[in-house]
């Protein structure tokens, strides 16, 4: 119980927003930059690996297994270890191994590996008959990937993107331990190292709210991009006034 007692070094309640809100801003910037990189690299990479497979558009078993193996390595390392292991690489790119810039590198590496698998999985769920239709309609490989594969998988990709974004929020907190800034950094330095429970609680509330908000937005986008459920949503909203007397 003693740990729950207010500590003399605790940040006063009124001071918490000034500490936590800029950190939230840093987290959003970090996750935002990482997700932009993850989508830009992960979507094409996932689509390429999917189509290098035996029944893909440009099958190449050797290249397929090489790329797939690289992605698996990226997926298999726990983030904390990956982050430390690639410090030389991070320093090569950003010139530093602390701060937001340094956190973005390992987060992007882990995020790309994660999202590549999500993209592959989403593309696998698109009926293969649509690729045949697109081919027979005279589409180039690029056109087929954009329309018959990614285009049809958009709701599933958005669902995956939601999961991926939430994972990146979690990774940003882990990156906080190497001084990356953001909510994770505040939680570690104030909540963990200084036993400031109020700050800890505030970071927890913010993280829960952030993750919940991402999930709600993601779910809404999935519904909006799925014609079947989008139609159901609009029908329900039409019916509702009728039911209310």
């Amino acid at each position: 119980m003693s740990a729950l007692h207010a500590n003399v070094n605790d940040i006063p309640l009124a001071g918490i927003p000034a500490l936590v809100l800029p950190a939230l801003g840093e987290t959003l910037i970090m996750v935002g930059i990482v997700m932009a990189i993850v989508v830009l690299v992960g979507v094409p990479l996932g689509a390429i690996i999917h189509n290098l497979a035996r029944d893909g558009l440009f099958p190449n078993p050797a290249l397929h297994s090489t790329l797939s193996w690289i992605v698996s390595v990226g997926r298999s390392l726990p983030f904390l270890i990956l982050m430390v292991a690639i410090i030389p690489f991070t320093r090569l790119i950003t010139g530093t191994n602390i701060g937001i810039a340094a956190a973005v590198v390992p987060m992007s590496v882990a995020g790309i590996a994660f999202f590549t698998r999500i993209v592959e999985n989403s593309l696998r769920s698109v009926p293969p008959s649509l690729v045949k239709v697109a081919k027979a309609s005279g589409g180039s490989s690029f056109q087929i990937i954009c329309t018959a594969q990614l285009g049809e998988a958009i709701p599933s990709l958005i669902g995956g993107l939601t999961i991926n974004t939430i994972a990146m929020i979690e990774y940003s907190a882990i990156a906080g331990t190497i001084g990356a800034g953001g909510i994770g950094y505040v939680a570690v330095t104030y909540g963990y190292q200084r036993f400031d429970n109020q700050v800890m609680l505030a970071t927890i509330i913010i993280l829960v709210a952030l993750v919940a908000a991402v999930q709600v937005i993601g779910d809404a986008l999935v519904r909006l991009t799925t014609p079947h459920s989008a139609a159901r949503v609009s029908r329900r909203s039409v019916r509702r006034p009728v039911l209310v007397p």
Partner: protein, 346 residues
């Protein structure tokens, strides 16, 4: 016009090689619907994929309007595919595109301007009778309507050749009838050569001008549908219009199997045959179709004991082929056999 010459497709090599299509030869004339019918595993889908160039034949050629498509490079293939419209089984629509957007797909790939594409899509929607459904998504359309969208999409680039791969499979009878009627209309109006691949015999009878039966990678029988139906000895002809269950003959009568073999069978042949044989003719069962304006089909009739030769001769005069119903005919037709059951191949 499509000509298929010595088309062979082998999967695998060495000892494990499987010949899926073996030396197929046939051609589909302009404004003709040519059906290829066969059981699952006969090689139908491989044939379809060789014709729309999704698969390269191992040997032999596919010639469309005089151009041999089997020797093209990948880039040329893509251009060549645009000259062949393909109608797939009903699951071939993009779920996130409206009917109009689905039809527009080949135009988008080709890079047609938005205005031109919109105009063409409008024409096509009208052509298939779906103008009022342009903004509907596939899940809002019935199976038959989805297939109309598929046909409109196949026609988007004004092909001269249409390949229908199981286009009516999985549709209810009313939708099948409306799709086959649409295909026949398109064949006549646009002079399309239509290759119609199916496993449904009944649909062949509805839609095709000519038919080939594919079995184990071989064409075992082919010909014009009317000719096959008028040929009492053709197994494919009999499968196209199988005998339906008939009443058993009265004890003093024998059952005869009578088929139309000529386009000029008088419609009152039952009476005429009775008069010629001075014996009443009992109609026990019949399966009659009108194809190309002439009646084809067969009937089972009961006749009082009469000279068999006289029956055959009198029937011949009327354009009919008469045979005493064989034991196996009786077994499959007079016993309460399930409708549509195929007769054993003679």
């Amino acid at each position: 016009m499509i000509t298929v010459e010595k088309l062979t497709k082998v999967y695998g090599n060495g000892d494990s090689a499987v010949t899926v299509l073996d030396n197929l030869d046939f051609s589909v004339q302009q404004a003709e619907i040519f059906a290829v019918v066969g059981p699952s595993g006969a090689g139908k889908s491989t044939l379809a994929q060789c014709v729309n160039l999704l698969e390269r034949p191992t040997s032999g050629s596919v010639i469309v309007n005089g151009e041999n498509l089997s020797q093209l490079t990948e880039a040329q293939l893509r251009a060549a595919r645009r000259r062949i419209g393909t109608v797939f089984q009903s699951d071939g629509l993009f779920s996130r595109r409206t009917a109009a957007e689905n039809i527009s797909l080949p135009l988008d790939y080709l890079g047609v301007t938005r205005a031109d594409a919109k105009k063409r899509v409008g024409e096509l929607l009208e052509r298939v009778g779906l103008s009022s459904h342009a903004k509907h998504y596939p899940h809002q359309l019935s199976g038959g309507q989805r297939q109309r969208v598929g046909i409109a999409r196949a026609l988007a680039l004004k092909p001269t050749v249409l390949l229908a791969d199981e286009a009516t499979s999985g549709l209810d009878p009313a939708s099948t009838a409306s799709i086959t009627a649409l295909l026949k209309e398109l064949r006549t109006d646009l002079g399309l050569s239509i290759l119609f691949i199916t496993h449904e015999m009944e649909t062949v009878l509805q839609v095709a001008d000519s038919v080939a039966r594919l079995d184990n990678g071989h064409i075992v029988e082919s010909g014009r549908v009317v000719d096959l139906l008028r040929d009492a000895s053709s197994p494919l002809g009999r499968d196209l219009n199988p005998a339906k269950p008939a009443l058993p003959a009265a004890p003093d009568e024998t059952t005869w199997f009578v088929s139309y073999t000529s386009a000029h069978v008088p419609s009152d042949w039952v009476t005429r045959l009775g008069e010629a044989l001075s014996s009443p003719v009992s109609l026990l069962g019949a399966s009659i179709e009108t194809i190309e304006g002439a009646v084809v089909g067969h009937a089972q009739v009961g006749l009082r004991a009469a000279n068999a030769e006289a029956v055959i001769r009198q029937a011949q005069k009327l354009g009919l082929d008469a045979r005493p119903a064989a034991a196996h005919d009786l077994a499959s037709t007079t016993v309460a056999a399930p409708a549509g059951q195929k007769e054993p191949v003679a």
